[in-house]
Chain length 120, copies 2
DNA sequence: AGGAACCGATCCGGTAGCGTAACGAAATCG
DNA sequence: CGATTTCGTTACGCTACCGGATCGGTTCCT
């Protein structure tokens, strides 16, 4: 299932997607925030603050702040773990799934229309 | 030359690359800054502040600030246009090219090791 | 020549993220 | 039990970026 790309394709893909993300602006997510969001939605739960911090290689306050921001935007939600009430479990939301679905569409579309050999 | 991807591949690719970018940290580029950098290096020159502002759909100060930051990091350089001294021409640098080359490597490597069907 | 238009940079107040260091709550240990 | 460890959060001072307005400097237009 791997994807093979040339350097030109790789950068072209990144160029197209970042450009479009900036253009439509809407949610101004940090690279870290986006990374957290993808981690939550692509890796099987449960997700905790310290777990994410370890995975991303950042401190815990970074995760807390990112969850604050994305929580306000409805992209994630937090629930106290009742089995160990010290923990907080990060949960997915419908809105977050929709956001990533749009990101996915953007990536796919950008990849498809990448440097069409001749014939623009 | 297009690349065809499934939604899972698209998000998986983005996940792997952003995660690695966050992990190695180094230069903490904004999405906007990265977008500007890619625009400069992938689109034929000349590049001007107002041109980039129009392309990205942002205001001119945003471009100026981003060029300040990336200029300090040696990723781009600015030269006054002698034919029309109102303009500033944004130029590429060796260091900037190297940075994008590493980004390209990262994207390619992430794409290659994407959800290897069985047998890791 | 002089006014208008243009270009990039700078100033302003405000917002959001950062790292370090603490904190309170909860579980575990001895 | 109390002491210690483990969580996530908050406090603090700082830095970077934001949009909007404005600024000099330059060119264009008549």
């Amino acid at each position: 299932m791997p994807i093979d790309m040339t350097p030109s394709q790789a950068l072209g893909l990144w160029h197209a997607v970042t450009l479009e993300l900036v253009r439509q602006d809407r949610r101004d997510l940090t690279l870290r925030q986006l990374s957290i969001l993808l981690e939550i939605y692509l890796v099987p739960p449960p997700h905790t603050v310290r777990g994410l911090a370890a995975t991303l290689g950042v401190t815990k306050p970074v995760i807390t702040r990112a969850l604050d921001t994305m929580g306000e935007q409805g992209l994630v939600s937090r629930v106290r773990d009742e089995r160990d009430r010290r923990n907080v479990v990060i949960r997915r939301t419908v809105e977050g799934a929709l956001f990533l679905e749009r990101l996915s569409d953007l990536v796919i579309a950008s990849g498809r229309s990448l440097a069409p050999w001749k014939t623009p």
